[in-house]
């Protein structure tokens, strides 16, 4: 699993993942802890680029549920870009598809947060 995390304007977190999102991946624990730390610090605007994710297990699903709740409390949702049909199917089987907003790009995620929260990143304001 290869992960890149980019914080924009101290509020919006771009998370790019390549490979398998599985508890048996050696990077998973660190990835989990880092994202939960962002959530605990009060951040809830996430864009997950899963376009290169081939597999997600229930641990990955649990992480996203934990991040989705604070966003829903703020009347918005975490945003996710998925291309793989099997990964999309797991979102459906776990009911996670009811807790997240599917987008096709970071721009679409930013547009969603502009509509739901009035968030405009500095570079665009």
């Amino acid at each position: 699993m290869n992960v890149k995390i980019n914080l924009i304007d101290d509020q919006f977190i771009h998370v790019s993942v390549k490979g398998d999102l599985s508890v048996f991946d050696e990077q998973f624990e660190l990835f989990y802890e880092e994202l939960i730390a962002y959530s605990r610090s009060g951040l809830y605007m996430f864009f997950f680029d899963f376009s290169a994710v081939n597999y997600i297990d229930s641990s990955g699903v649990s992480l996203l549920i934990r991040l989705a709740k604070p966003a829903l409390d703020q009347k918005t949702m975490i945003c996710i870009h998925i291309e793989n049909m099997q990964v999309r199917r797991m979102f459906s089987v776990s009911n996670l598809d009811q807790l997240v907003h599917f987008v096709s790009s970071q721009e679409e995620a930013l547009e969603f947060y502009k509509i739901t929260l009035g968030f405009i990143p500095t570079a665009q304001s």
Binding site: S58, Q86, S94
Partner: protein
């Protein structure tokens, strides 16, 4: 056709097993990636459940996995049994048929129950417990899936 595996709970052992089992599933499911991936997911979750709750992350305890394939004229039946060495559970584990919005516990078991046709966890006659899963795949569905993949 029967495939037997004995693995330990280390990350590398599990990753190797999952790679092998995925190849087998793709072969027996005529390269239908969606179905193979779903069954592969269920095995992964069942093994994870064993490691977390029966073996308590003790990677020295072996896990016996058996994949049994039965072909009939109209369907493929895949039966998977996973035997652990944990303390015997006192009764059948209740598999949830419904899950709350933000519920984390038992979500993996719930997901397996949504994919498989049969799923149970019960004490084994010998030692430990046995997880059983069964998926019945009509052959026409398999052909349909392969045709769709060719079209894409």
């Amino acid at each position: 056709m029967i495939f037997n595996f004995s693995i330990f709970g280390s990350e590398s052992d599990i990753v190797k097993f999952e790679q092998k089992s995925m190849k087998i599933l793709l072969r027996i499911l005529e390269k239908n990636e969606l179905l193979a991936s779903e069954i592969h997911f269920c095995m992964h979750e069942a093994i994870l459940n064993v490691i977390q709750h029966a073996h308590l992350w003790d990677s020295s305890k072996p896990i016996e996995i058996r994949i049994f394939l039965n072909d009939t004229e109209t369907e493929k039946q895949i039966e998977i049994s996973i035997t652990d060495q944990g303390p015997k559970i006192s009764q059948l584990i209740q598999i949830p048929d419904h899950i709350e919005k933000f519920q984390l516990r038992k979500r993996g078991l719930y997901m397996i129950s949504q994919i498989m046709d049969e799923f149970s966890i019960s004490p084994s006659e010998k030692t430990g417990n046995i997880t059983k899963m069964k998926k019945v795949i009509p052959l026409n569905l398999l052909k349909k899936g392969s045709e769709n993949e060719c079209e894409n």
